[in-house]
């Protein structure tokens, strides 16, 4: 037995938990360790989109109409596909202009128009109060159903409770308290409300987990999906929803609903709030754009199974909206029903919290403050502490929003299903879409067009959706719905112009959007906006072409004093925040504004931007105008400033690119310089070793004139050998140097590579025989000539052979050379059966003096260390290549190639 006290305790406990989460996140934020600064929390906060409508209403819709519940979630998915085009721009602009709400955003775009801000606010309020009422109704219904368990009684059969005994009343005031506590801590509405975002993300997890739990339980209780749908297929009354009549019977309705949710997702004040105002970093968008659709997908996965199972379980008498609760109850799982109740509550409360904060900010900033500023005889300076006043105003607005939602629910909420109420709200907020999207991408969109479109669209919304519901409520006569006003049939609210074949929502959406778009585009095309509005249009549409900080584009001229601006800021932001902000300004602009001095236009723009973040752009405009003497800029001047800044930013981008190229070139030069130093150091070291040997022998000969003849001879032999090595080294260094500078190649002449190799083999023969090494030269019968310097190519062959010789084992050594033609080049392989080259060294062996670091097989320095480096240089100068690999018998193999055509003249090489 659940019982009302237990359920109430769980409900209030859950809200208490929300307070704890929000409090924790705010504390973390104060300590500088934000809990919400990551794409996962951002994506979860976007999931505030899923309300009680999703949790309960979708099931109800699925049970009645099959897949018709899905377009509401497919639309936002498509919006995410375009997220980088639309949402990123909104975030960028929102941050640059310190936007506090969608009303503020639109007002700012259309020349900081107070009228537009007020219109958007009023319409949002009218459109969304029913939506908030819907959430409260869901909580109340859930409570009523659970408290009568194990009986299953529909709330509509119950008597309305007195307000104080109504759960949703207590939930409403608790949520108002929550929103006031965590949503109005600072005046600057652009300051993030970390506590609220964290709580909303937490609720998103709870509602998903709860819904999935109910879904899995349902599937298990009915023996798995196949068994469940098998039973459903045998039930004639479920045929319709399974065979999915909806998209076929009403294809237009399906697509219109998808478009509707696409637009609503972008325009809903709460979505704008979490997506733009609370966004921590633009970079979080990338991940959120697919995490959020994934969330929608997951939370919708079990809608149909629950709907079908509920329809099987209850042949009638139970609202399909309540299946999420009543199904577990009917199957004697009261605990699970309680979990579902908490899930539904989390969906409802998250929406109510964010929507009421967003709406309250709009009412205070975009409706009441501009009115108050216009009141005659209440000049700004009389108000002693406007900060407190505005915060109190905002809190009062939160109470107002929730109280209206609750009152609406008490008045007529019982008559509508969850989905119908939600969709009426969607059509209302979709009226913002033409002005929003047009404002983002169309420079010629004007304030007059936006305002007229909004009003026209809203009027149609009211006439087609609200008038019929007033008739249902008995407030209007039925004649208007049945026959049209004054009997004009073509004006029937449900069938304007006699349009048939659409459901009421799609019908209202179509006509309102048509009127809205027509007025918006028509008036925009006909009129020319004033200069200030055109400037804002440029800043919005080309948001990515301008600097992120608006004060970098100061669209202002006149005289202002720093002291006045500072006083204004201090009144609204407080002394501390003003100091901080002015310090920030000084850091970016390199000068500290002194009181008493005239303020430059950048500071005026900066101050207005700061104020806009607290009171909205329209009010900020008025406030700043009250302390400065402005000389209006002409349109051409404004556009000129904009053009200059646009040019400046593209110029600075060019400069940045150029600087990066220069830095790269410099790095390359430094690297070459380093290589050169290294080369010189190695060469000197290499020269000094034999020189030191020669010198010490000479000194010893000088010191011991009577040295035995045999000893003397052996020492002189060493001197000769070391001098020879010294001479060879000097020659090779010179060779190498010449090759590096690309000067040492003779005129390329056609030559037969086989002859070159035969000559090299003959020259090496004595040394090979001395060590008992067998050399096999394998060559094709015919080989086309290559073009090259014969002496240099002979040097290649000799160096490769003597390198192989060095690494052959003392007994049974063998070297294989194979030449062949492959396509348009001649390739060769020189392989030995020595120890081979480790894979990681195969490139390094071609570096000069590489083998200084590696000793030859017999523990002595095996050569000068330049042989292979010279080979590679010569081949590259001939347009060829060489690389080291592993030979057939584990030894080293050098593969090289030379083109048959003469190489192009070598580019001037950079000498080390």
């Amino acid at each position: 037995m659940l019982g009302a006290p237990l359920i109430l305790a769980v409900a209030l406990g859950y809200v208490g938990l929300l307070f704890a989460v929000a409090f924790w996140a705010d504390r973390r934020a104060e300590r500088g360790r934000s809990a919400i600064a990551n794409p996962y929390v951002y994506a979860l906060s976007l999931a505030v989109y899923c309300t009680a409508w999703t949790f309960y209403g979708s099931v109800g819709r699925a049970a009645a109409e099959g897949p018709a519940f899905l377009p509401t979630y497919l639309g936002p998915t498509l919006a995410c596909a375009l997220g980088f085009t639309v949402m990123r721009k909104m975030i960028r602009i929102g941050k640059a202009h310190r936007t506090t709400s969608i009303a503020d955003f639109l007002s700012s775009r259309y020349g900081k128009s107070a009228a537009l801000a007020a219109a958007v606010t009023c319409f949002a309020l009218l459109g969304l109060i029913p939506y908030i009422a819907l959430q409260l109704k869901a909580v109340a219904d859930g409570f009523d159903i659970l408290s009568h368990a194990p009986l299953i009684i529909m709330p509509r059969h119950l008597e309305a409770k007195p307000v104080l005994e109504d759960t949703s009343f207590h939930v409403a005031w608790l949520l108002a308290l929550f929103a006031m506590l965590f949503g109005t801590r600072k005046l600057e509405a652009t300051e993030r409300h970390e506590g609220i975002v964290a709580a909303v993300a937490f609720e998103s997890i709870v509602k998903l987990a709860a819904f999935v739990a109910v879904g899995l339980f349902t599937l298990a209780a009915f023996g798995g999906p196949a068994a469940l749908f098998g039973r459903a297929a045998a039930e004639p009354r479920l045929q319709e929803i399974l065979a999915a009549a909806h998209p076929r019977a009403e294809p237009l309705g399906w697509s219109l609903e998808m478009l509707l949710s696409f637009l609503a997702f972008l325009c809903l004040p709460r979505q704008f709030h979490v997506a733009v105002v609370e966004n921590v970093s633009e970079e979080h968008l990338g991940k959120a754009l697919w995490l959020f659709p994934l969330y929608l997908w997951a939370i919708n996965l079990f809608v149909l199974p629950i709907a079908v199972a509920g329809s099987l379980q209850f042949p009638g008498g139970v609202d399909a909206d309540t299946f999420g609760l009543t199904l577990p109850l009917a199957l004697q799982r009261e605990g699970l029903a309680l979990v579902a109740f908490v899930g539904g509550m989390s969906a409802a409360t998250a929406m109510v919290i964010v929507e009421s904060v967003a709406l309250a900010t709009m009412i205070a900033n975009d409706l009441l403050l501009p009115l108050w500023l216009r009141l005659p005889g209440r000049p700004l300076s009389l108000e002693r502490d406007p900060r407190r006043g505005i915060l109190v105003l905002r809190r009062a607005c939160i109470v107002l929003v929730l109280a209206s939602g609750y009152a609406y629910y008490r008045a007529i909420g019982q008559m509508h299903s969850l989905v119908a109420l939600g969709q009426i709200s969607f059509v209302a907020v979709a009226q913002f879409a033409p002005a929003l999207l047009g404002g983002l991408f169309w420079k010629h969109a004007t304030r007059r067009g936006a305002l007229a479109g909004l009003i026209g669209g809203f009027a149609v919304w009211f006439y087609t959706l609200i008038v019929p519901s007033l008739v249902d409520a008995g407030l209007l006569g039925e004649a208007i719905v049945a026959h049209g006003p004054a009997g004009w049939g073509w004006l029937r609210p449900g069938h304007l112009m006699g349009l048939e074949g659409l459901n009421p929502i799609a019908h209202a959406f179509f006509w309102s959007l048509l009127v809205n778009l027509g007025l918006f585009t028509g008036l925009s095309l006909l009129g020319t906006p004033p200069a200030a509005e055109r400037a804002q249009a440029e800043l919005f549409v080309d948001a990515f072409a301008f600097p992120a900080r608006p004060e970098a584009v100061p669209l202002w001229r006149g005289t202002a004093r720093v002291r006045d601006l500072r006083l204004l800021l201090e009144r609204f932001l407080g002394r501390e925040r003003t100091e901080e902000a002015l310090g920030e300004f000084a850091r970016h602009h390199g000068l500290r504004p002194r009181p008493g001095r005239p303020a430059d236009p950048a500071l005026v723009t900066f101050a207005e931007g700061l104020l806009a973040g607290a009171v909205g752009s329209a009010s900020a405009r008025v406030m700043v105008a009250s302390v400065v003497q402005e000389k209006p800029l002409r349109a051409e001047e404004l556009l000129e400033i904009l053009e200059e800044n646009r040019a400046a930013i593209s110029y600075s981008r060019e400069l940045e690119k150029l600087a990066e190229e220069l830095r790269a070139a410099n790095r390359r030069l430094e690297e070459l310089d380093r290589l050169k130093d290294e080369f010189i150091a190695t060469v000197t070291h290499e020269l000094r070793t034999p020189l030191a040997a020669v010198r010490s022998i000479a000194e010893s000969l000088q010191a011991h004139p009577r040295m035995p003849e045999e000893r003397r001879r052996s020492l002189t032999a060493v001197v000769v050998k070391e001098s020879e090595r010294l001479g060879r080294l000097v020659n090779q260094v010179l060779d190498f140097q010449r090759l590096e500078s690309g000067k040492s190649l003779g005129q390329p002449l056609p030559l037969d590579l086989r002859e070159v190799w035969r000559e090299a083999a003959a020259a090496m023969r004595p040394m090979l025989e001395e060590r008992g090494i067998r050399l096999a030269l394998e060559e094709p019968e015919t080989l086309p000539p290559v073009f090259g310097d014969r002496d240099r190519l002979l040097q290649v062959a000799l160096n490769l052979l003597s390198n192989a010789l060095k690494f052959c084992p003392d007994t049974g050594g063998r070297i294989d050379v194979r030449l062949e033609r492959r396509g348009d080049e001649i390739t060769g392989v020189v392989s030995d059966n020595g120890p081979g080259i480790p894979a990681e060294d195969r490139e390094a062996v071609f570096e000069a003096f590489y083998q200084v670091r590696r000793r030859g097989p017999r523990g002595r320095l095996a050569g000068t260390g330049l042989g292979l480096a010279i080979v590679r240089r010569i081949l590259e100068h001939h347009g060829g290549w060489i690389r080291a690999a592993s030979g057939p018998e584990g030894g080293a193999a050098f593969h090289f190639g030379l083109p048959l055509r003469p190489p192009p003249p070598p580019p001037p090489a950079l000498t080390p």
Binding site: F84, A233, P251, L289, W297
Partner: protein
């Protein structure tokens, strides 16, 4: 600008593809009583297409290398 333009084009393609896949008349192909493992065909199709679209969005929504405002 060029690589960004390419990325932006891909996003539009995904969006248009999604519009086509998730709307009639495409849906009417699947709106029939037949099913897979007793599951209604249309639902199976819708959830698969939805998941596929989400995967495509993930592919094209990778954060571009810090472009200095050269975006869409």
């Amino acid at each position: 600008m060029e690589p960004n333009a390419g990325r932006n084009d891909r996003r539009w393609v995904v969006f248009l593809l999604g519009c086509l896949l998730l709307n009639p008349p495409m849906l009417s192909l699947f709106a029939q009583p037949a099913g897979i493992l007793e599951l209604p065909l249309l639902y199976v199709y819708l959830y698969l297409a939805w998941a596929g679209l989400t995967a495509l969005i993930a592919l094209v929504s990778r954060e571009s290398p810090p472009d200095r405002g050269g975006g869409p």
